[in-house]
Amino acid sequence: MKRALYLLSMLLLVSLVAFGCGGEKKEEKKGEAPKAAAGIKIGSLGPLTGPYAADGNDIKNGVLAAIEVMNPEMGALGPVTLQAEDDACDPRQAVAAANKLINEKVTAVIGAYCSSATIPASEPLIASKIFMITPASTSEKVTERGMPFMYRTCGRDDDQSKAAISFMTDHLKAKTVYIIDDKTTYSQGLADNVAKLAAAGGLKVLGHEHVNQGDKDYSAVLTKVKAAKPDVFYVSLQNSASAAPMLIQIARMGIKTKILAQDAVYHPQLMELAKKDAEGVFLTFGYTDKETPSYKKFADAYKKLGEPGAYSAYSYDSTVAYLKAVKAAGSTDPDKVKAELAKLEFDGASKKIKYKENGDSGSNYVIQVVKDGKFTNYWNPENGQLFAK
C-alpha cells in the first residue's frame, strides 16, 4: 500500500515534470520575447502512425519541402521551423495534438488528413486564431461552418463528382454505372454525390456497394459487379493501398468494364502494387501541369523525401501560401495575414492558388489515366477535349 503510494506520487511527479517542461520552455520564450518573435513556427497535423500513416507522411514531407524552398526568402521573419504532430486519424488524439500545437505557439497548422480529425481539431485552433489549412480534407463541412481561419487547398467532394459524371456521360457515353465505396467520410461522401448526380445525368446506377475500410478481399462484391455488367465501374476508395488489391482482383475476376476512380487513389505506389492491372484506370484528379516552373521547384525540393503522394503538392502549396502571406504582411499577426491571404494569388505546384471568402480554393478536376505506369492527363471536363499528347 505504501509502496504503491510512492508509485503514485512518482508517477504524478513524472507527469507533472513532463507537462511542466512544456510550460517552462514557454516561460523562457516569454522572457526573451523579442528573440522568440524572430522565426515562424508551423505545425503539421496528420496520421503519422496507423492505417493512413502513408498519407500523413506525405503531408508532413510537403510542408518540409515548402519550408526548405521558402526559408531563404523569408528574410528577417525567418527561420521557419516545423512541429509535426501525429493524430492517428483519431478525433481525441487530434484535439490533444491541436492543443499541444497551441501550447507550442505555432501560428499555422497544415492538416489534417481525415475530415473527422480536421473538424474537431479546428475548434481549439481557430478559437486561438491559428490558421488551419487542410491539404486533404475534402468534406464540404470543413469550410462551411463559417470558421474564420480555416482554409482548404484541395478540391471539394461536390466538384469532383461533377467532373466524374460528365466524363462518364459525355466521353465514355456510358448508360449504366456500378458504384463502390469504403465507408469513410471522404469516399462515401463522394460516392453518394456521384450516385445522386448520376440519376440526373441519365445514368442508371446498377448498384451501390460499401466495403469496410481495411478489407483486402473484395471478391464477393466483385462477383456482384461482374454479374451486373455495368458500363462503368466507379471506385471510391480511401487510398491507393486499398485500391491496388481491388484492381488486381478486378483483373483476376475478368471484369472488363471501364474503371473510374478518384483522387485519393492517386499515388505512385498504385502502379507499384497493382502493376499492369492499374493500366487504363481513369481517375479524377486536380489538374497539375508538371512542366510549370513552380511544380519543378516543388519536385526538386521533394526529391530527397521520396515520391510525392496525392497530397504532397497541396500540403506544399498550403505552406507556401501561408508563408507568402506572412511575408506580405510583414508579421505573423493573424488578422493581417488573413487580409494578405485573401489578396494572395500565385501559381502553386498543384494549381493556381486563390482562396475564396469561405476558405476554399476552388477545384480544377480533370480526368487522368494510368498509361505505361504513369498518371497522364487524359480529358478535360471544361471543354470536353482530350489532352494533347
Binding site: A4, L5, L12, A97
Partner: protein
Amino acid sequence: MTIRASKLWLGYGVAMAWFFVLLWPLLGIKAEGLEFAESISIWLKVAVAAAILLGLHQLKQGGLFRFLEKPTQAASAAADALAARVPRWLALCAVAACALAFPMLTERYAHDVAISVLVYIILGLGLNVVVGLAGLLDLGYIAFFGVGAYTYALLSVHFELSFWLCLPIAACFSAIAGCIIGYPTLRMRGDYLAIVTLGFGEIVRIVINNWMSLTNGPNGVLGIKSPGAYWFKDGSFEHIWLNSLEQLYYIILGLAMLTIVAVYRLNYSRIGRAFEAVREDQTAAELMGVNTLRLKLLAYAMGAVFGGIAGTFFAARMKFVSPESFTFIESAMVLAMVVLGGMGSIPGVILGSLALIALPEVFRGFEMYRMFVFGGVMAVMMIFRPKGLWPAKRMGARSEERD
C-alpha cells in the same frame, strides 16, 4: 557465483544472436543485394544497452551497490513512517487539492490531456465493475461509451436537450445496451465471453458506421452543444455554455469523483460482495443463495452506466462524434488500464488510466516511435508487476482460472 554468471552471459549471447537473426532479414535483405551495416549498427546499440543493464544487475547481485542500499532503505523507511503518520483523509485532501488546482498551474495542452485521463478513469472504473469485481472478461466495453456519446449527440442535435438532462438518459440507454449484451453471454465462460463481447463491440461500431439515416455514418455528428449552466451575473441568472477547457475539466473532475465514490461504495456493499463471490467461485456463490444470473446482468448494466456517462461527456467535449473513436483498440486500452492498474482496485485503475493516456502523450516527442515504445513498455510493466501497479487487497484466483 561464477557458474551462474557465466550462464547468465551465455544466455545473453544466445539472446543477442537470436535478436540479430530476427533483425537482419528485416533490414538487410534487399532486392539489390545483402546489406549489413544498418542492422549491425542497430544491433550493436541494443547489445551494448543490454550488456550494461546486465552488468549493472550482476554488480547489484555481487553487492557493489550495498553501500547505497542502506541509506535508501533508511530513507524509504522514514518516508513510510511519515506516510503512516499522515492521516488518510489528509492524503485524500491533498490529492483532491492537487486535482482542483491543476488547471491553474498548467497550460491548455495539459488540460486537454487531463480531461482525457479523467474520461478514461470513468471508463476504467466502469469496466472495473465488470472485470475486476464480477470477473467477467469484456473486450467490447467501448460500445457503451459509443452508445452514450451518440445518445447525447443525437438528442442534442435533433431535440436540443441539455447535457445535464441527457446524462441520465444516456446512462439508461447504455444500461439497456449492457443488458442486451449481457443476456446471451450469461451461459458462457472466460474466453468465449471475450470473443462474444468483442463481437458485440464490433457490431455496435459497424451499425453506427452504416446506419446513415440515424447516425450520419462515417461523417459523424456535428454541432453538439457543450454543457450549459446558469451563472449569477449582473444581478440575474444567465445561461452560459461551459466551453473552455478549464470549465470542462471541472465538470469531468466532478463526474469522475462521483464515479469514484459510487464504485467505492459499491465495492463494500452487499452487491459488491456478491460480485466478488461470483468471481471467486460461481458454484459456491450459487449455493450460498446468490442469484448469479441476475448479478451478472447487473454487473454489465452498472459497468455500462459509467461508460454511458463518460460517452456523454466525451460527445459534449469534442462537439463531434464519429465511429472512429469506438474501435476495438480503444476497448483493449480500457481493459489495459484496469489490468495494468490492478483489477478491482480503485486507485490502481486511476493510476492505470493516468499511465496509459499520459504516457503516449509524453512520448509524443518520439513521433513514429511512440506506439512502438508504448507497446514495449506495456509488456515490460506486465512482466515486472503482473498483479498491477496497485493490486487490490481482496483478490483470489478467478473462478475460471482454476479449471
